[in-house]
């Protein structure tokens, strides 16, 4: 069996119909468990006080905002190289999800920054590249909506996605590249010395799992929708020609 079998829209819908309820339930369970654990059952940080509870939303949302763009990049490359419609539609389906996660990361970051840094916003390398990434999300969705021909839209948005990937990478590594600004380096690390304390780490892991599962569930559901919408457009065009 090859992964390219799922490039068949019927096969994709049939397979995702089976797994979607399980992924959705797992996403809800992880999100509820992680957020309740983090909000109600973790202590305040000795420096940041109760604002550390924002961590459980801010970090997973920021991670998934970048990873969603990475997924869109892979799907766009598959479209450019192999011309599979499902991959182009999956990239289109992921964009609003990634954009929402970016807004959550920006909003919770501002709310966290105000009491900790004394400002809602700073033109810091990481914050600025994240804002530009959000603008790329908006541009990507607008481009899809503006072009009537699906294949042309997929071609142009794929190129935009390649260009925007620079800012996805910058958002992730800006702190390392410029070593300046207000934003700290990575809070999560495989190095035990650098990683946050276990008492914050375990609920954060559950929240990250919840965000990943939510992203997968929403992308499956929205890709199914895009496949059906594309078929509707094709049938309507055939009706008009008849």
């Amino acid at each position: 069996m090859s992964i390219w079998e799922y490039a068949n829209p019927v096969k994709f819908i049939r397979t995702t119909d089976v797994v979607l309820p399980w992924i959705s339930v797992a996403a809800v369970l992880c999100l509820v468990t992680g957020l309740v654990w983090g909000f109600f059952f973790t202590p305040d940080d000795y420096r940041q006080g109760s604002t550390v509870k924002i961590f459980y939303l801010h970090v997973p949302a920021a991670m998934m905002a970048i990873n969603a763009w990475a997924m869109m990049l892979v799907a766009s490359l598959v479209w450019i190289v192999r011309r599979h419609h499902v991959s182009a539609l999956a990239a289109r389906a992921a964009a609003p999800v990634g954009a929402t996660f970016t807004v959550i990361a920006l909003a919770t970051g501002a709310l966290w920054g105000q009491p900790m840094w004394g400002t809602w916003w700073a033109w810091d390398p990481r914050l600025t590249s994240f804002l530009v990434l959000f603008l790329f999300y908006l541009g990507y969705m607008a481009l899809w909506a503006a072009i009537e021909n699906d294949d042309t839209a997929a071609d142009l948005t794929s190129i935009l996605c390649l260009v925007g990937s620079v800012f996805a990478i910058l958002s992730r590594y800006a702190v390392l590249f410029w070593n300046q600004g207000l934003h700290q380096g990575a809070s999560l690390s495989l190095d035990k010395q650098e990683n946050v304390s276990d008492v914050f780490w375990y609920p954060a892991l559950v929240c990250i799992a919840g965000f990943v599962l939510l992203f997968v569930a929403l992308v499956f559901l929205r890709t199914q929708t895009e496949i059906r919408a594309r078929r509707s457009r094709a049938l309507l065009a055939r009706e008009r020609q008849a």
Binding site: S50, T51, T100, P115, T225
Partner: protein
């Protein structure tokens, strides 16, 4: 049961409110659009079958 958030209550509660609110809006919008598009496609397919 509610933890004492002290002077940071606004920042923490607003973060959870905005974050969870946006997630709920995204999920509801995705499900509603999925239902609408599915129903529209079924209608178009039935019409196509009727007209051969």
């Amino acid at each position: 049961m509610m933890p004492d958030l002290g002077k940071y209550a606004f920042a923490v509660l607003a973060s959870y409110g905005i974050g969870l609110g946006l997630i709920v809006i995204l999920v509801v919008a995705s499900v509603l659009r999925a239902r609408k598009v599915r129903a529209e496609l079924e209608q178009i397919e039935q019409r196509s079958k009727r007209h051969g």
